[in-house]
Symmetry: C2
């Protein structure tokens, strides 16, 4: 890929038209664009693409038919479909990062404040004409635990400090976020969980994070704790979670992601009063936010700079 060669990007996304408009507007040098909103509509020239920009679930289906691929930019943070061991890994994979912090903060702190201020409960009282003077709680002085401190975790830590919270972070190895008051690593799960008011799961789906929130972890949390999961469904043992919630050993759970989506209609989580199901909408990938990642990385590519947000196939993120 010498700087002067012409590249061809295949845009493969449900929002292909919107992404195409954003990429065209950037007038990137030496770039041909082909696009499709679905794998069934792949253009004839697609196999010539050395670049792909799109949704991992769609790209994984056609990767064997794209022999020229050298770089894939995913529109999502999660790239699980491309980590399927049956697929090739001899290309550069970059994912979407650094753009979800704003929406994730609004999601997480929206539900944290709703819990403290009893927003749903007070609205129910109101519909019974009840002047409900029950005192609300406060985030100030409470403790939030972040399972994962990447760019999203750092944004959550900063907002936690803004609201006067104590911030604990659980990471594989990193300890470089200055808004985290105390770090914990593998083997320290029980100490991490011990005094949390809130725990937020924002780790990627990897071998190391699967079922990280299991019966033992839940038992280590105080009964007043609230779990928020806008990350990956696989991180939580949902059987153990349902048992903790119905047994009063956990105050509430705010769940955006599940191992099966949509959440099956007969799942008891739907009707538990202390569960909030948000249907994988915590931080949607908006073309206006995501297209600049491809545009910036393409400029890096043609000027010989390293690409941002590269996925390590071994670490799985």
């Amino acid at each position: 890929m010498a700087p002067t060669s012409t590249h061809q990007v295949l845009i493969l996304s449900r929002h292909a038209d919107s992404y195409r408009r954003h990429v065209e507007a950037a007038a990137l040098p030496d770039l041909d664009i082909v696009s499709a909103a679905d794998v069934a509509a792949l253009p004839e020239t697609a196999p010539r693409s050395d670049l792909v920009f799109g949704e991992p679930s769609l790209i994984a289906q056609v990767l064997p038919r794209l022999p020229a691929v050298q770089w894939i930019q995913a529109t999502w943070a999660g790239v699980e479909p491309l980590l399927n061991p049956a697929l090739r890994r001899d290309y550069l994979l970059t994912n979407a990062r650094g753009v979800f912090g704003v929406l994730m903060c609004e999601y997480v702190f929206g539900y944290l404040l709703a819990h403290e201020r009893r927003i749903v409960e007070k609205y129910a009282s109101q519909k019974l004409n009840k002047w409900d003077t029950k005192a609300p709680g406060t985030l100030h002085g409470k403790t939030i635990g972040l399972l994962g401190v990447g760019t999203i975790g750092a944004a959550l830590a900063r907002t936690g400090k803004h609201f006067g919270m104590i911030v604990k972070g659980y990471t594989r190895a990193s300890r470089d976020c200055r808004d985290v008051d105390e770090y914990f690593h593998t083997g320290e799960e029980a100490r991490f969980a011990a005094d949390l008011d809130y725990v937020v799961c924002i780790v990627p789906n990897t071998v190391a994070t699967r079922r990280l929130i299991d019966r033992e972890f839940l038992a280590a949390l105080p009964a007043r704790a609230v779990i928020v999961n806008p990350g990956r469904g696989s991180v939580i043992d949902h059987d153990a979670l349902r048992a903790a919630l119905s047994g009063g050993r956990l105050a509430a759970a705010v769940l955006d992601v599940f191992e099966t989506e949509p959440l099956p209609a007969d799942d008891p989580l739907w009707l538990m009063p202390n569960v909030f199901v948000t249907s994988h909408t915590a931080a949607l990938s908006l073309p206006a936010d995501i297209a600049p990642l491809f545009i910036d990385n393409y400029r890096r590519l043609v000027s010989g700079q390293p690409l941002k947000y590269r996925v390590d196939f071994t670490l799985e993120y």
Copy 2:
């Protein structure tokens, strides 16, 4: 009140016991303490009190029986009962300020985020087993208008900037909060209201603020706007508000205060789907937060320094 004389404070509050414990724990010099939880239980020695610390509604009832009073520290921000023209004003009045910013931020941003994230609506969908993927909104880039920029307004402005909002401020004259992007004053109400997504009323109850949010102000707001009122009920013309809400000329209202409290059972506001009644709980006066104001001001008094948060009887705040 020479520094060496002995003072007597009358603590008059529903929470008199708690306030008394806090004040006693401070071991203030040259201070006798008497207290009562209600006006009917006023101690015999109360008339000798030169200081009073308590709730304006209770103090106003007994003020004529307290001839020695030279300083009153209110436990509330609102001192309307003491502004009754029939009562004497020949003493120093200080109110509670600087302590409500944290709770007010959590209240206001709790409801702003609940609105953007459709928290109540999504919980209702969930109870119908509906995988509701409707996209939430975001505070980022939205505009918040603060009616009043005192210590609470400054805290709200700072949190608004934290969430990437544009902050407009409406004040009598002040323009010293650096988190306010643009200031407006008397006569500029329509320009202030013109492009707001949110308007928060935190002005005191004065002649100048009564019915500030009237039919005209409401007509100047965009139909997407949400009103939040944790300040004073008198600031809003509730007839005009009900009409705007039921006519679709306003998205929602979050109301903590009313001219008659509790809100009368037959008020249509109770059952309007886009109204949130929070029953005067936005920022409760907690003894642990308020007692330090009296303690600090008492130390200032005996050391001859000016007291903090003095109320101007002419300005009414």
